[in-house]
């Protein structure tokens, strides 16, 4: 078993986390998130050109001539593949996409529309609402579960750890203007589950040790518990990250954002189980009496 003094760095890492959270919040509030068509509405077209000489500016120019509002063009994996996004979506004109394809073919040669997503303003605001509800609901459900299973001090620690992970992951998405779409919501929910999972494993051990040793202070007790579960923490993070990196590298462009969010979430989730959840127990001065009292009730 390892014997690393994690507890010596509680304060330092707490300050670091606090700084990261503040930076993330500043970005989230002032810069905001880069919503994709799912949440902002508009049209997304993934296209493949037959002519290799086509480049981003050529494609952008052709789209700009069509009066579609703000157009963004990005390379998507292959040389010949591009993602085009623009504000306009037209639900009253069923020929909308067809017309774009015709105009485009005449200006840059044959194009294949591999994927088209067209989301109206009503649907996008509903999707955003249900995404926010889903994330809040899962946080509430986790809180409820851990509140039933543990004492309130533990619940607070676990929930703060989850908030930490979600805020920082979203903060990174805001800083680098990475796109937020439906699959990112799925990723965030999975991060919530994973972070909780990781915290619960350490907390279970803390509680077990609280019963076992009445004379060890919580400051050292958390350190013992972290060390005892450390190799599990590492192995599980490694295997999960191996799976996620494999999705990120080989799973195709569509899953890139999803797997990136998950990778960040797993890294921060693992870190926060050690450096957020445990210091909270220390700060709340949890002792044997905390759990014994609860068990008598």
């Amino acid at each position: 078993m390892s014997n690393i003094s994690f507890n010596k760095f509680y304060r330092k890492f707490n300050i670091l986390s606090l700084i990261l959270i503040v930076i993330s919040l500043v970005f989230l509030i002032f810069k905001g998130l880069n919503y994709g068509v799912d949440f902002k509405g508009g049209t997304l077209i993934e296209l493949r050109t037959t002519d290799k000489t086509n480049n981003i500016s050529l494609i952008r120019d052709s789209f700009n001539q069509m009066n579609l509002g703000d157009v963004s063009v990005k390379k998507f994996g292959n040389e010949t593949d591009f993602i085009v996004k623009f504000e306009k979506q037209n639900s009253n004109d069923p020929e909308f996409i067809k017309n774009i394809q015709n105009k485009l073919s005449s200006s840059i040669g044959d194009v294949d529309f591999r994927r088209v997503e067209n989301v109206g303003p009503k649907v996008s605001s509903e999707l955003l609402k249900s995404g926010i509800i889903a994330i809040s609901l899962s946080l509430a459900a986790m809180l409820l579960y851990i509140w039933i299973r543990f004492e309130w001090q533990f619940s607070l620690g676990a929930i703060l750890a989850i908030f930490h992970d979600v805020i920082i992951t979203l903060g990174i998405f805001s800083i680098f203007s990475l796109e937020i779409n439906l699959s990112i919501v799925a990723a965030v929910l999975t991060i919530v589950g994973y972070s909780m999972n990781d915290t619960v494993v350490i907390f279970d051990r803390v509680r077990e040790n609280l019963r076992k040793y009445s004379d060890i202070k919580i400051f050292d007790l958390t350190n013992i518990s972290i060390n005892e579960t450390l190799s599990r923490t590492i192995i599980t993070s490694v295997t999960t990250l191996l799976a996620l990196f494999s999705i990120y590298l080989f799973g195709g462009e569509i899953l890139k954002g999803f797997s990136l969010a998950m990778i960040l979430g797993v890294i921060f989730g693992t870190y926060s189980s050690i450096y957020i959840a445990n210091p909270i127990l220390v700060a709340l001065n949890v002792s044997q009496r905390t759990i014994v009292k609860e068990e008598k009730d």
Binding site: E46, S91, N92, D93, P94, E95, I97, K98, D112, F113, R114, R115, V116, E117, N118, V119, G120, K122, V123, L127, I133, A134, L137, S138, A141, M142, Y145, L182, S183, V185, A186, L189, T190, G193, Y194, M196, N197, D198, V201, D204, R205, R232, I235, T236, V238, T239, T240, L242, A243, L244, F245, S246, I247, L249, F250, G251, G252, I254, L255, S259
Partner: protein, 517 residues
């Protein structure tokens, strides 16, 4: 914990084999339907279109309110109650009555047996909410009146949408109600949704109206433009015949003019009406109006009494086919707007499948190698559990015909990564127990027992996330929640039955060795 009865061993093996079989049934073909089940691929993997349509009910509501005014007038006239100054302001019907009739009118409208304002006992509500201010009455659709109206127009629309989609002949379309004003249309394997989109985008309200002799718009006429936008014409508002009377329509070739036309036949009532109108209107131009646009306006040369006719216009064979299809399937009660569309081409779908399988394979391999490196023999056991876990997961998804999406494949890969967690928790616990306990069987037993609550806690949290995602998510994301959720269940099975069985066999056989784990 390490003891397994024979019966238990056999049932674990049988269970595993049965479900694993369905994982393989994706790749083999049998004649029997049950034994050759395939996993359903989502639209993002097999390619296809997802369309969410919303009914624009405003015209229906206005139409119904106008009809209601006529009904009210007639009803109260029969009762010899004077109502006057009828008007429609927004969605409100307004009318006045004389002072001594106020009470009477109010009672009739609020009567539970009322003939003009239907009462729905199940909703405890009338069709219309009635307000009166002095002798001024106002009628508004009540909440339930509106719901019922929307439901009935949705039911009609969904029927028409189904007919149109079926006529185009795509394989296994999925047409579902969403709420009370939306229709979800899923068209798997369709590589060009444009035709269906333009078919669904048309209300297909066909009317025959005479072109007026006057050149100015006046009472009883309206100005309509030709479909090609070239010119306008003043058309009489009187509808001679509408699409409702059509029984069939098909594209044909007019042998005289050599152009493509749509020929139609009418039902008995329609044929009578059409015959009468055309015999009085010889020499006049008859406008054929579709959704407020004139397709063509041929002159009536002789009365048409046979109950069939032709619509000419600048048709290609394709556009004539589409018009015939629209006329056969009938008019939508209200216009439909496409408020969400997601289309994936079949080759992108195939690319996604390939990429998904490649990353699953690589992720799986990396995890397996890592576990063998970490735990040697026990790594092998964990890996066997992992392999059977994967088979079970795919088998169950196949058996229950779940839909596999691209995020769903990501969910499977993630399950592979997280599934070892439970075994790792157990193995690490066993390692700790071995320090104080020399008897490996007791140490292994304790390892399993003491890690159980932690494993349950840890998996329940992920299961909660999967559940919420299942109920809140849509389309591809839902597919992710299904694989993630089912993955947790198969993981627990593979850990507590398969891995534990193998562990116990191994431990019992090697109990005299030093340092098993």
């Amino acid at each position: 914990m390490l003891y397994f009865s024979k019966l238990r061993i056999i049932s674990v093996i049988i269970f595993t084999i049965i479900f694993s079989y369905f994982a393989f049934s994706n790749f083999v073909k049998f004649d029997d339907k049950f034994f050759s089940k395939n996993i359903n691929l989502g639209l993002d993997l097999q390619g296809g279109s997802y369309l969410l349509l919303e009914i624009d009910n405003r015209p229906v509501i206005t139409q119904k309110l106008q009809a209601k005014i006529i009904e009210l007038k007639r009803y109260f006239k029969e009762k010899q109650i004077t109502l006057k100054n009828f008007s429609l302001k927004g969605d409100t019907i307004l009318f006045e009555t004389t002072d001594n009739e106020i009470e009477n009118v109010r009672n009739i409208l609020n009567d539970k047996e009322s003939d003009v304002n239907t009462y729905y006992p199940t909703y405890k509500s009338h069709e219309f909410d009635v307000l009166d201010d002095g002798n001024l009455f106002s009628l508004n659709y009540s909440r339930y009146g509106l719901v019922l109206l929307k439901n009935s127009s949705l039911d009609q629309a969904i029927e028409i949408v189904r007919r149109r989609v079926d006529e185009v002949g795509t394989n296994e379309p999925n047409i579902l109600k969403r709420g009370n004003d939306r229709i979800l249309v899923e068209l798997p394997g369709l590589d060009d949704p444009n035709r269906i989109k333009s078919l669904l985008g048309k209300t297909a309200n066909l009317t025959f109206q005479f072109i007026s002799q006057n050149n100015e718009e006046s009472f009883g006429t309206e100005k309509l433009s030709f479909e090609d936008g070239s010119r306008d014409a003043i058309v009489s508002k009187r509808i001679i015949l509408s699409g409702d009377n059509l029984v069939d329509a098909k594209p044909t070739m007019n042998s005289q003019t050599n152009e493509t036309v749509v020929s139609f036949s009418l039902d008995r009532v329609g044929a009578k009406k059409f015959g009468k109108a055309t015999s009085t209107g010889v020499g006049k131009q008859l406008a054929i109006v579709l959704d407020g646009k004139i397709i063509s306006a041929p002159s009536v040369r002789e009365p048409i009494i046979g109950g069939s006719g032709q619509i000419s216009g600048d048709f290609t064979f394709q556009s004539a086919t589409d018009l015939a299809l629209l006329l056969r399937s009938g008019a939508l009660p209200a216009p439909l707007n496409i408020i969400e569309e997601r289309t994936v081409g079949p080759d992108l779908g195939q690319d996604s499948i390939d990429a998904g399988i490649l990353s699953l394979f690589i992720g799986f391999l990396l995890v397996i190698l890592f576990m063998i490196y970490k735990y040697r023999a026990f790594g092998l056991i964990a890996n066997l559990a992992l392999v059977s876990n994967l088979f079970l997961l795919i088998g169950i998804l196949t058996l229950f015909e779940a839909t596999l999406t691209l995020p769903g494949i990501a969910g499977i890969i993630l399950t592979v990564g997280m599934a070892v967690d439970a075994n790792v928790l157990i193995f690490e616990r066993i390692k700790e127990e071995t320090k104080n306990e020399k008897n490996p069987i007791i140490a292994f037993d304790a390892g399993y027992t003491k890690s159980r609550t932690t494993i349950l806690d840890a998996n329940i949290t992920t299961l909660i996330a999967a559940f919420i995602l299942f109920f809140m998510g849509s389309g591809p994301v839902k597919g992710f929640s299904v694989t993630l959720g089912v993955g947790i269940l198969t993981t627990l099975f593979s850990v507590y039955f398969i891995a534990r069985l193998l562990t116990s066999l191994y431990v019992v056989k090697n109990k005299d060795k030093e340092q098993l784990l």
